[in-house]
C-alpha cells in the first residue's frame, strides 16, 4: 500500500473541498488576514495558563511540550457511527479473548492462538481470574488509508491515556475560537464522561448504592499526571496513590484524616504489573500489598483489569479476523493495519525475503516503537534481522499504511500533515459507546507518538446529523446524598502536603524579608553606623538560622561574604568539572514549593493553581536574572513577597474553610510563629544599653513599624514594642495572632476529642507564656534590662512551637515506616540444620 498518495481529509481527489470542511474554513476566512495565527498564539497561551505543561522540573521540558493545533479534524456523523460500531465490536472481541486467556484458555488448547503470544506476554499476569468485566474502557489508534478505509494501528486496553487531553483541547479551543463552532453541529463531549462515570459506579461489588470510586495514579512524576488529576474531577472520584491505600481485613481503604474509608472501584492508571508488590512486581513502591487478594475475593473491582494489557500485543492483530469469527460469529468490521506474526514460518520467510517493506515491532509490547529496516543503518539493520531470526516469535511485522493528511497551521499557513486519531470507548454493563470526539496527533518524523509525550494535537469533531443532538442518557439513579461538611475525607497525604506547602511558602517569605532587610544595609556598606552594624549582625544570625547563608558569612564584619552568600542563595545548582553543586537555599525552597503545589494540585481550582504557579514562576525568573546585582536580588525578594501574598489572598478568598484550607493555614501560622519568636529573640540579643536597636529591628522584621508609630509616635520603649510584636492578638505579623489562629484551627480539625484538646491546649499554653513574658517586661523597674533577658525565653517558645508542629504531624499525617519486601530479596539464611 506504500507509494500510494495519502488521502487528504479536507480535499477530495479532484481538488474540491469536502463538504463537511466548509463551515470551518469559512469561519477561518472570517477571522481575516493573520487572524488564525493570532488565535493559535492565544491557544498556546491558554494551555500554558492552565498548566497543562506542568510546573515540575523536567515536566516542562521540550519533551512534554504540548500544543493544540487550531484546526480541528471533523468526522461526519455516518462515518463516526461506523467507527463506533467497529470499535465496539473490537472491544467486545478483546474482552472475549481476555475472558478466555484468564479462564480456561480454550484458544490455546485449540491452537487458535500460539503459546508465545500469551506465555511470553508480559501483560498477561499469572494471578488467575479476578472476575467481572476485564474492560470498561478502551481506546484505539486509527489511521485512514489512501483508499479511505480506517485501520486500527494499536489497541489500548491497559490505560488508554489521552482522553483528558482531548477534553482539554475541546474546552480551550471553544474558548479561543468560538466562531468556528457556531456554523457546525459539533457533538459535545461531556455526556460521554457521565456515561463513563455511570459505568464505573455500576462496577461496585454487590451493587453498592453510593460506591466510592478512586483513580489510582503513580503520582506527580508520571507523564500523564495532568490527565489523572483532570479525570478524577471529570469522573468525580478520589485521586489516590498507592501509599494512600491500605488493605485491612480483606478490604481496601483510603487513609483519610478521619480514619479508613472503604473503596469499591479502582480506576487503574498504573501498570497492572505494579499494582501489588506481594503478588506481582516485588519492588513496586506504587502498588498496594494485598490488593490482588481483595480483588480476587470480589471486595473491590479494579478496572481495567490489571491483566488487561495482554491484548495490546501487536502480533494479536494477525489473529483477530479468525478470533472474531470464532468467538463472536461475525466478521471483523474494522481492520487492523496488515500484520504478520513472525512465529509462523511462512510469515517469517515472507518478511525476511523483503524486510524493507515492513515495520517491525516486538510481538507482545504494544508500547514499543516500530522499527523500519529500510530506514536503519546497515549494521543495526543486520543486527535486527539476526535477532529476528534467532527468536522470530518475539516479533510482529506490519505493512506500512500511508496515513491520511489534514491541514495544520504552520508558520507558512495551512499545510497537510499526516494524522493518527485516538478514539475512546466505555462500557456500561450492556453496551460500548464511543466518545463523540477524540485526540488526533500530527505525526512528525516518527510515525507514532503517545499522549503526554508532546507533539501537536488536534481536536476531533464529530458532527451530528442535525443540531441539538440528544444529550439525555439513561443513567443509574443517584441516591440522595447526605450533607457533608467535615474535613475528614481528606487523604492524610494531601493534608500533610498542604501543611508543608503552608510552611514552605511562609519560610520563603521570611527568607525574602530577611534578605531584603540585609540588602538595604549592605548596599551602603561603607557608611554603616554602629547600630546598623549590630542590626546587620542580628540579621545575619537570623539568615544563618533560616539556613539561607552559612555561619561564616553571617556577620557584619564580613559584608562582602554576606552579599555573595545572599546572591548564591537564589542560584540553581550547577554541574561543573568539580561535580554537582547544590542549589542555594532559596532556590531549594522554590523547588520544594513547586513540588508541593503539584502534589496538592487536585485540591486547587484552576485559577488558584494558575495564580500560585505564575507568581512563583515570576519570582523564580526575577531571582535568576538578579545575577550579581544586589539591587536585582532585592527586586526578586519583592517578587517573592508578592507570590506569598497572592497565595494567602487566593487561598483565603477561594478555598472552602475546613479540610485543605485548615492545613494550609495551620502550616503558615506554625512557621510564622516560630520565625517571629526566633527573630525577635536574635534582635533583642543586645546589651541593655543598645536595646533600642533591637527594638527597631524587631518592628521592621514584623512589618509593624508603621503601626507602632501610629500608636506611640517616635518614642521607642521595650514594653510597647514587645506588646505589639509578641502579645497583641490583633497584629497579623505578631506572635500572639499566630498562636490564637493555631488554637482555633486545631480546635476545628476534629478527631478524637482528647487529642484535639491537647493540641489546641498546647497552643493556648504558649500564648499564656508569651503574654506573661511581656507582662514581666512591662512591670520591670528597668524595661531594657528585662527585654535583654528575653532571648533564651523566646528560644524556649520557638522550641515549644516546633514541638507542637511535630505532634500535629504525628497525629494527622500517620508517619509511614519504610516498605520492604522479603522472600525475594537476598537473605542470608541462618541454617539451623534439622529443626
Amino acid at each position: 500500500m506504500s507509494g500510494v498518495e495519502a488521502r487528504d481529509e479536507m480535499v477530495d481527489g479532484h481538488g474540491g473541498l469536502r463538504p463537511h470542511w466548509r463551515g470551518i474554513l469559512s469561519a477561518f476566512a472570517a477571522l481575516g488576514e493573520g487572524g488564525l495565527a493570532e488565535r493559535a498564539l492565544r491557544l498556546d497561551r491558554a494551555f500554558a495558563e492552565e498548566g497543562v505543561s506542568s510546573l515540575l522540573p523536567g515536566a516542562s521540558s521540550e519533551e512534554h511540550a504540548w500544543r493544540c493545533d487550531p484546526v480541528p479534524l471533523p468526522i461526519q456523523a455516518g462515518e463516526f457511527a461506523e467507527l463506533e460500531a467497529g470499535l465496539a465490536q473490537r472491544a467486545t472481541l478483546l474482552e472475549a479473548i481476555l475472558d478466555d486467556l484468564y479462564d480456561g484458555q480454550q484458544l490455546l488448547a485449540d491452537g487458535a492462538l500460539p503459546p508465545a503470544l500469551v506465555f511470553a506476554n508480559p501483560g498477561w499476569l499469572r494471578v488467575g481470574d479476578l472476575g467481572g468485566n476485564k474492560l470498561q474502557f478502551y481506546a484505539a489508534d486509527l489511521i485512514r488509508a489512501p483508499d479511505g478505509v480506517w485501520h486500527v494501528l494499536a489497541d489500548r486496553t491497559a490505560a488508554g491515556g489521552g482522553i483528558g487531553y482531548a477534553r482539554e483541547n475541546r474546552r480551550l479551543l471553544a474558548r479561543v475560537l468560538p466562531e468556528t463552532f457556531r456554523p457546525m453541529p459539533v457533538r459535545p463531549l461531556r455526556p460521554f464522561f457521565e456515561f463513563w462515570q455511570d459505568g464505573l459506579r455500576r462496577l461496585a461489588p454487590g451493587g453498592a448504592a453510593n460506591p466510592t470510586v478512586a483513580l489510582l495514579t503513580p503520582g506527580t512524576a508520571h507523564r500523564q499526571w495532568f490527565e489523572h488529576m483532570y479525570l478524577s474531577r471529570e469522573l468525580s472520584c478520589a485521586l489516590v496513590e498507592g501509599g494512600d491505600l491500605t488493605v485491612r481485613g480483606g478490604e481496601v481503604f483510603i487513609k483519610t484524616l478521619k480514619g479508613l474509608q472503604q473503596v469499591d472501584v479502582l480506576l487503574r492508571r498504573i501498570d497492572g504489573r505494579m499494582i501489588d508488590p506481594l503478588e506481582l512486581e516485588a519492588g513496586s513502591l506504587i502498588g498496594v500489598p494485598g490488593l490482588i487478594d481483595v480483588a480476587r475475593a470480589g471486595r473491590v473491582h479494579i478496572t481495567n483489569d490489571p491483566g488487561s494489557g495482554a491484548v495490546e500485543a501487536p502480533a494479536l492483530a494477525a489473529f483477530l479476523p479468525d478470533l472474531c469469527r470464532r468467538l463472536l460469529g461475525e466478521e471483523l468490521r474494522l481492520p487492523s493495519v496488515p500484520t504478520l506474526w513472525l512465529g509462523e514460518a511462512a510469515a517469517l520467510s515472507r518478511v525476511l525475503a523483503g524486510p524493507d517493506g515492513w515495520n517491525l515491532r516486538p510481538a507482545t509490547d504494544g508500547n514499543a516503537d516500530a522499527l523500519s529496516p529500510a530506514a536503519m543503518a546497515p549494521e543495526s539493520r543486520a543486527a535486527l534481522l539476526a535477532r529476528i531470526r534467532a527468536r522470530p516469535w518475539e516479533w510482529a511485522a506490519s505493512a506500512p499504511v500511508e496515513p491520511s493528511v489534514a491541514p495544520c497551521l504552520m508558520p507558512d499557513g495551512l499545510q497537510p500533515r499526516p494524522v493518527v486519531v485516538r478514539l475512546f470507548l466505555s462500557f456500561d454493563g450492556t453496551g460500548w459507546r464511543a466518545m463523540p470526539g477524540g485526540l488526533a496527533r500530527v505525526l512528525g518524523s516518527a510515525r507514532e507518538g503517545a499522549p503526554g509525550r508532546g507533539g501537536i494535537a488536534k481536536d476531533v469533531w464529530v458532527l451530528s446529523e442535525e443540531r441539538g443532538d440528544a444529550v439525555g442518557l439513561p443513567l443509574l439513579p443517584q441516591p440522595r446524598l447526605a450533607l457533608r461538611r467535615t474535613t475528614g475525607d481528606l487523604p492524610s497525604r494531601v493534608a500533610d502536603n498542604l501543611f508543608w506547602l503552608g510552611r514552605y511558602v511562609e519560610r520563603l517569605e521570611r527568607a525574602a524579608r530577611l534578605v531584603r532587610a540585609a540588602i538595604t544595609r549592605l548596599s551602603r556598606a561603607q557608611a554603616l553606623l554602629p547600630p546598623e552594624l549590630s542590626e546587620l549582625d542580628a540579621l545575619g544570625r537570623c539568615l544563618a538560622e533560616a539556613g539561607v547563608i552559612a555561619d561564616d558569612a553571617a556577620t557584619a564584619a564580613a559584608t562582602r561574604l554576606m552579599a555573595g552568600a545572599l546572591l548564591t542563595s537564589v542560584r540553581p545548582g550547577a554541574t561543573g568539572p568539580e561535580g554537582t553543586t547544590d542549589g542555594g537555599a532559596i532556590h531549594a525552597l522554590f523547588v520544594t514549593i513547586a513540588r508541593l503545589t503539584e502534589n496538592v494540585r487536585d485540591r486547587l481550582t484552576g485559577d488558584m493553581y494558575a495564580t500560585f504557579t505564575q507568581t512563583l514562576r515570576a519570582a523564580r525568573g526575577d531571582a535568576t536574572s538578579a545575577g550579581r546585582s544586589l539591587d536585582g536580588l532585592a527586586h526578586a525578594m519583592v517578587s517573592i513577597m508578592r507570590f506569598s501574598t497572592a497565595v494567602a489572598g487566593v487561598a483565603a478568598e477561594n478555598m472552602v474553610r475546613g479540610g485543605g484550607f485548615l492545613f494550609l493555614d495551620l502550616g503558615r501560622r506554625v512557621e510564622r510563629a516560630q520565625a517571629v519568636a526566633t527573630e525577635v529573640g536574635f534582635a533583642l540579643d543586645q546589651p541593655p544599653a543598645h536595646v533600642e536597636t533591637g527594638l527597631r529591628l524587631a518592628l521592621e522584621l514584623c512589618d509593624s513599624a508603621i503601626t507602632y508609630r501610629n500608636r506611640y509616635l517616635n518614642v521607642l520603649q521595650p514594653a510597647p514594642v514587645l506588646d505589639l510584636v509578641l502579645a497583641d492578638q490583633g497584629n497579623p505579623r505578631g506572635l500572639a495572632f499566630q498562636l490564637v489562629a493555631m488554637h482555633g484551627l486545631l480546635d476545628e480539625l476534629g478527631g478524637e476529642s482528647g487529642v484535639r484538646e491537647m493540641l489546641a491546649g498546647a497552643a493556648a499554653g504558649l500564648l499564656a507564656e508569651v503574654e506573661a513574658l511581656v507582662a514581666e517586661v512591662l512591670a520591670a523597674p528597668d524595661q531594657a534590662v528585662s527585654a535583654s533577658a528575653l532571648p533564651p525565653l523566646l528560644a524556649g517558645v520557638a522550641g515549644g512551637i516546633a514541638d507542637l508542629s511535630n505532634r500535629i504531624t504525628r497525629r494527622y499525617f500517620a508517619l509511614l515506616p519504610a516498605v520492604q519486601t522479603v522472600g525475594l530479596t537476598s537473605e542470608v539464611a541462618e541454617l539451623k540444620g534439622a529443626a
Binding site: Q105, L108, A109, D110, G111, L113, P114, P115, A116, F119, A120, R126, V127, G128, T246, V247, R248, G249, G250, P277, L278, E279, A282, P289, G290, D293, R296, A297, G343, W393, L816, P817, A818, V819, Q820, T821, V822, G823, L824, S826, E827, V828, A829, E830, L831, K832, G833, A834, A835
Partner: protein, 290 residues
C-alpha cells in the same frame, strides 16, 4: 515411602513491623505420585486474615495478613506425605529433543500447557553461556531423556555445591563462571539452557530426605528448601523430575511443594512489610521417613 515434614521459618525484625502481608507456597502438592496424608501450616503471631487458593500453576497458596505490631514472625509446616513417583521411560523410547521443542512451539492440544515453560522467565533469563553448556548434551536427533540425563550429570560433575557463594539474585553467568552454587542456581542454570533450546522445563521446589537411607549416598541441600528441574518429554510421556544437585531422577527421596517458571513464582514465603528495619531469617527443615 512415607515422610514426616517439618519446616520452620522464623523472621526476626530489628524494629516492630506494623503491617505485614505474606504469600506462602508451603503446602505439599497433591500429585499422582504423591499423596498428602495431612498438612498444616500455622503462624505466630496469628494473622488477622488468612486465605488459601490454588495459584496460576495449580499449587496451593496461602495469604496471611498481620496488622498488629510484631517483632518476630514464625511459620511452621507439619505434614505427612507418601511419595513414589513412577520410573521414567527408557531414554531410548523418548522422542528426539527437536520433536519435543517443535510440539511446544506449535502448542495446541496436548502441548499448550507445557509450552508455558519453554519461554524465558525473570529469574531464568536467556543466557548464551547456559545455552552453549546445555547444547552440548543435545546433539541432533538425541532422545530427549538421554540429553536431559546427560545434562543433569554434567551439572553435578562440573559444579561444586557450596552454600554462601551465591544469593537468589546471582546471575546465571556468574554461576557458570565460578562453577559453584546451590540447588537454586543449578536449577535456574539448567532451566535457562533447556529453554534456549525450546524445551519446556519448570522450577520445582520441595524437600529432600534429611538423612540418606542406610548405606545410601549423602545428599546435598537436604537441610533446607530444595529445588530441582521438571522437564517435559513430549505429549506422550509428560514430565519427569531431575535433581541436578544430586544427579538423580526424582523417585522417592523428594517431596514436591510447588512448581512454577522459576523461584520467583513459588518463593516459599514472600512478604511486604511496613517497618521492621533489618531482619534475619532462620530456616529449619526436617524430612524423616515414618
Amino acid at each position: 515411602m512415607k515422610y514426616r515434614v517439618r519446616h520452620v521459618t522464623t523472621y526476626t525484625y530489628a524494629q516492630p513491623v506494623d503491617l505485614a502481608s505474606h504469600m506462602l507456597h508451603l503446602w505439599p502438592r497433591v500429585l499422582p505420585g504423591q499423596a498428602v496424608l495431612s498438612a498444616a501450616v500455622s503462624a505466630t503471631p496469628m494473622p488477622s486474615r488468612h486465605s488459601e487458593a490454588a495459584d496460576h500453576f495449580g499449587n496451593r497458596v496461602g495469604w496471611m495478613f498481620l496488622d498488629a505490631p510484631h517483632e518476630t514472625f514464625q511459620v511452621t509446616v507439619d505434614a505427612r506425605v507418601e511419595v513414589g513417583f513412577p520410573a521414567p521411560p527408557s531414554a531410548a523410547d523418548t522422542p528426539p529433543w527437536e520433536e519435543v521443542a517443535a510440539q511446544a512451539r506449535a502448542g495446541g492440544a496436548g502441548a499448550w500447557q507445557a509450552a508455558e515453560f519453554a519461554f524465558d522467565s525473570p529469574m531464568a533469563p536467556a543466557d548464551p553461556g547456559a545455552r552453549d553448556f546445555a547444547a552440548r548434551s543435545f546433539p541432533p536427533g538425541r532422545p530427549i531423556l538421554a540429553g536431559l540425563l546427560d545434562l543433569t550429570g554434567r551439572i553435578w560433575r562440573d559444579f561444586t555445591f557450596r552454600p554462601g557463594v551465591t544469593t537468589i539474585h546471582t546471575p546465571i553467568a556468574r554461576v557458570l563462571a565460578q562453577r559453584a552454587g546451590v540447588c537454586q542456581d543449578f536449577t535456574h542454570l539448567m532451566l535457562s539452557g533447556l529453554r534456549s533450546l525450546g524445551l519446556p522445563s519448570r522450577y520445582v521446589s520441595g524437600y529432600l530426605r534429611t538423612r540418606p537411607p542406610p548405606g545410601g549416598a549423602a545428599r546435598r541441600g537436604a537441610d533446607q528448601s530444595h529445588a530441582w528441574v521438571g522437564a517435559w518429554l513430549g505429549a506422550r510421556h509428560g514430565w519427569v523430575d531431575l535433581d541436578p544437585t544430586n544427579n538423580i531422577v526424582v523417585r522417592d527421596e523428594h517431596v514436591v511443594l510447588a512448581w512454577g517458571r522459576d523461584y520467583g513464582d513459588i518463593s516459599p514465603i514472600r512478604g511486604v512489610l511496613l517497618g521492621g528495619g533489618a531482619h534475619t531469617v532462620a530456616v529449619g527443615v526436617d524430612l524423616e521417613p515414618i
